[in-house]
Amino acid sequence: MSTETPTQTPVDTPDELATETGRSAADVTVASQRQLIWWRFRRHRLAMAGLWVMIAMYVVAVFAGFFAPFSKDTTSADHAYQPPQLPSFSFSEGFYVHPTTGSTDPETLARVFEEDTSRVINLGFFVRGDEYSLLGVIDTNIHLFGPTEAGERFYLLGADRTGGDLLSKIIYGAQISLSLGLAGVAISLVLGLVLGGISGYFGGWIDSVIQRIIELIMSIPTLPLWLGLAAAIPPQWGPTRTYFMITIILSLLGWTSLARVIRGRLLQTRTEDYVLAAKLDGVRTRRIISRHMLPSFLSHIIATVSLAVPAMILAETSLSFLGLGLRAPAVSWGVLLQDAQSVQVVATAPWLLLPGLAVVVAVVAFNFVGDGLRDSADPYGRRTT
């Protein structure tokens, strides 16, 4: 049938592409695929917003020491469960807060804080505080924002059980949570590329076997497996080893959907006329794959990857939250949320849920970007939403 009927034409005239990308037809005629995708992506407002949020989060994570007012390890028993403090402003003092002292009410066992309004802690930008090493090479002690006097405490987002500054911990936690998402997806991608590629390229029984394995993994609940595997990590392992192990466990079960997408795309691309045309042009297999096939589904893979990252972040958070992932003193958003395990704690210190907000923002941003990418990955298709 297909050889006889006039083919349905998707969006492909310069005029239509121009309306899809918001560019002039003259621009479009000489625009490469990548430019078309980018132009189209830029027209997704939510995706662009997500992209900016993502970039901001990663910048903050990379320069965590600078953006965090304190080091993640500084504690202060006096300030356990200190509620968030809103800085006041006066022209004479600039930004400031009053120092507090906490104590435990012997009858209700609730934490009570007394504000010493006679004293102020001055706050300022680019202040000197805890020592840290920027990017692991430059040792410095300059922080974007904090008490001007080193050693003073100030809690913009409140304090946790040990009196550590939650804001600083969230910022440091971003390092692990965000990088673990990327690293896990990277390993998944390698597995997915290799296995999906083998599956799609060779077909036949190899394909069948790999497909059955994927179906098997997809058909059983992942969390119990993650938990089971993670429980086998010896507790005496250091944070770095645990971190790598967790990453590997997450990607061990996360590669399946990527492998499916890659295989599907490969099979689809393999039957494209232009791939046959390349073969008839005398192009060798390796060049057909690298020059003709890979670029055509690269954009789709990037989109799938960006949709897989949030799943990894959520998985890490859940594992750590349940106590089988990373453990303190490592700081990740999931580890921070361990403090908020019970309703009683949440009722007395609701700000302990703030790391969860960071998770939500990161995941939403990634989802927006992924959706936008998926929509623009094929610049010749019509927008679906």
Binding site: Q211, Y274, D281, Y380
Partner: protein, 613 residues
């Protein structure tokens, strides 16, 4: 339930009464439908596109009126606007659709000319008024019966639904009627087919079911939107016969939308020619074909391959006739078998079936000639072409290719590496000008690829040769830097030809190379191919389902049927005096683009086995 129904009918009657037109003479008494200044616009975020632009036309009661035009002419949108079922985001903006209900419908007591005229465009697009017209007064048949019918409902359910809706028949009574009608449209064993799903029927049977559906309520007007375009030519002939017969016996009016002037000449009484959403010409069929007034109509007719006036005075052809001795390629006992997976469920249970796509085909392709390979879908012609190109490795048989030095090589057994030099001598032009060009490469890269990978040219020399070739195929040198998306279908096909010819090949396999193109563009591409053949001494293997195209340009014709070559010979002889029953059936099914020759030929059927399933 019944009171709701009564309410619905009352609402419908009220709406229709409100849309009734009471001008002095709103429309001609002989007309069943008149469009007056109809405009249908597609409103998108980026602006409005007028698909139907100020269209006025009239359809006489009892006539067959064909709306003809190329893709994008707005003919389908016009048809859909009549009963307001335009695809989202299209909308009827202005104009009137005047419709006079038939004698046995509301207000049947008055004589035809006095019966009220309803403006369908004034009705609410989702209201009960227009819904009482759809399916009951006006039936609609679409191009693709597979996608136009629901895949998860039975045929009987989808047809019977109309009777339950419009005639309030109980399911059992509806079943009787549906089975009768299925039999009427020529579906064998209708009792069984009633419970069948669309995918269990062949394309022709599906279209018959679709027709039965459109006609089950006996509408006065049937709108058929390219109903035969997706079908093979022999099936098309059967469906056209069926429509003519039904129109006669049911006393309907037929509005037939098509791009094929041959079909128009076969069936039309009146013809409306459309272009860019406007009507360019409107008249009786004889006048349109023999005294076209508008320039565009003349162009369309000129582009039409005329079976009667065969252009046989090309020098290349004469030369080939003189010295038929040296075949460029000898295909000997070629076989191609596929292992097809059948009855897969979740891709697990596989029974493999062997399909003989090409079955012991022997064919000589003389140097400098054009050999046409014709047949209907699934006959194996494309597979044969791909074997010649060695896109497939034939299961058995030989492909003896005579090189420029006179040496003969069997291509069928060469390895990929050994094939490389021959890949430059045998080239392909694809059917689909959209899918065959890598969208990520510029024209310069696409066309230059074969030379670059063979290391034959690079840098400015390569660019020079590419640009020269672009000029050769009628494109501009400056276009080399553009991407395929910047070109129209015809231009892309020129790029495809440039890519095929850049290696200075000797044999070009053109697989349905003009099938996806509009008639006028098709002619240009065929002319280009003929011109290049003369200049470069090319040999063509021209694969097509379109007999008229093959007749126009081929010296020799081979006819394939279910993998077997049933007939082979010089074009004039095959077309004038076909030997095989299938060839005769095929030829008799091709519409003749001249209304004056209508009825002068009788149709031949070829039924070697039960093809009714």
């Amino acid at each position: 339930m019944s009171w709701r129904r009564r309410n619905l009918e009352r609402d419908a009657a009220r709406e229709i009464a409100a849309a009734t037109v009471d001008d002095d003479r709103p429309m001609d008494p002989g007309s069943i439908l008149e469009l007056q200044n109809l405009c249908t616009t597609f409103h998108t975020d980026e602006g409005a596109v007028k698909a139907v632009d100020d269209v006025s036309l009239r359809i006489r009661r009892g006539s067959t009126t064909c709306i003809v035009g190329e893709s994008g002419s707005g003919k389908s949108a016009t048809a859909r606007s009549i009963i307001q079922v335009v695809d989202h985001p299209g909308r009827v903006d202005a104009g009137r659709v005047l419709y006079r209900p038939a004698a046995d419908r509301p207000a049947a007591d008055r004589p035809a000319a006095d019966r009220p005229v309803v403006d369908l465009a004034a009705l609410d697009a989702t209201g009960p008024g227009i819904r009482s017209i759809r399916g009951r007064e006006i039936g609609l048949v679409f191009q693709e019966p597979m996608s136009s019918l629901s895949p998860v409902h039975t045929i009987g359910d989808q047809i019977g639904e109309l009777l339950e809706l419009h005639e309030r028949l109980a399911p059992a009574a509806a079943r009787e009627r549906v089975i009768d009608d299925l039999r009427r449209v020529g579906i064998p064993r209708p009792e069984e087919r009633f419970g069948a799903y669309t995918f269990q029927l062949s394309g022709g049977m599906r279209q018959r079911a679709m027709i039965a559906m459109a006609l089950v309520c006996r509408p006065s007007l049937l709108i058929a939107d390219e109903p035969t375009t997706a079908l093979d030519v022999t099936t098309q002939a059967q469906i056209l016969d069926l429509l003519a017969e039904l129109k006669e016996s049911l006393g309907m009016t037929l509005m037939f939308i098509t791009h094929d002037l041959g079909v128009v000449a076969e069936i039309a009484d009146d013809v409306v020619v459309m272009r860019h959403g406007k009507v360019v010409e409107h008249g009786p069929v004889d006048q349109i074909f023999h005294d076209p007034r508008h320039e565009y109509t003349r162009e369309l007719l000129a582009a039409l391959p005329q079976r009667t006036t065969l252009a046989v005075d090309e020098p290349a052809q004469a030369a080939a006739a003189e010295q038929p001795a040296r075949p460029l390629l000898r295909i000997e006992d070629l076989e191609m078998t596929f292992e097809a997976a059948a009855g897969t469920m979740f891709g697990r249970r596989r029974r493999t079936e062997r399909v003989n796509a090409v079955d012991k085909v022997t064919l000589d392709i003389p140097e400098g000639s054009t050999v046409g390979l014709v047949g209907e879908s699934g006959c194996g012609k494309t597979t044969l072409g791909r074997c010649v190109l060695r896109a497939y490795r034939p299961t058995a048989g030989r492909l003896l290719y005579t090189g420029a030095d006179g040496r003969e090589t069997d291509l069928a057994r060469l390895s990929e590496k050994e094939l490389l030099p021959f890949r430059r001598q045998i080239r392909m032009v694809f059917q689909d000008p959209y899918g065959s060009l890598n969208p990520r490469m510029t024209v310069r890269q696409v066309v230059g690829e074969p030379l670059r990978v063979a290391g034959l040219a690079s840098g400015s020399e390569l660019d020079g040769r590419v640009e020269e070739m672009l000029e050769r195929v009628g494109l501009k040198r400056s276009m080399a830097g553009r991407y395929p998306h910047a070109f129209s279908g015809g231009e892309r096909q020129r790029i495809g030809i440039a890519r095929a010819l850049i290696t200075e090949p000797r044999l070009v396999v053109a697989d349905e190379a003009v099938s996806a193109l509009d008639v006028s563009v098709r002619t240009q591409i065929l002319e280009l191919l003929a011109e290049l053949q003369g200049d470069l001494g090319l040999t063509y293997l021209f694969i097509s389902h379109d007999l008229s195209v093959v007749e126009r340009i081929c010296d020799q014709v081979a006819v394939m049927y279910f993998g077997v070559m049933v007939e082979h010979g010089p074009a004039e002889q095959v077309f004038a005096d076909p030997r095989h029953g299938y060839t005769r059936a095929l030829l008799s099914a091709v519409p003749v683009a001249d209304p004056r020759q209508r009825g002068t030929r009788s149709r031949v059927d070829y039924e070697p086995e039960d093809s009714a399933a």
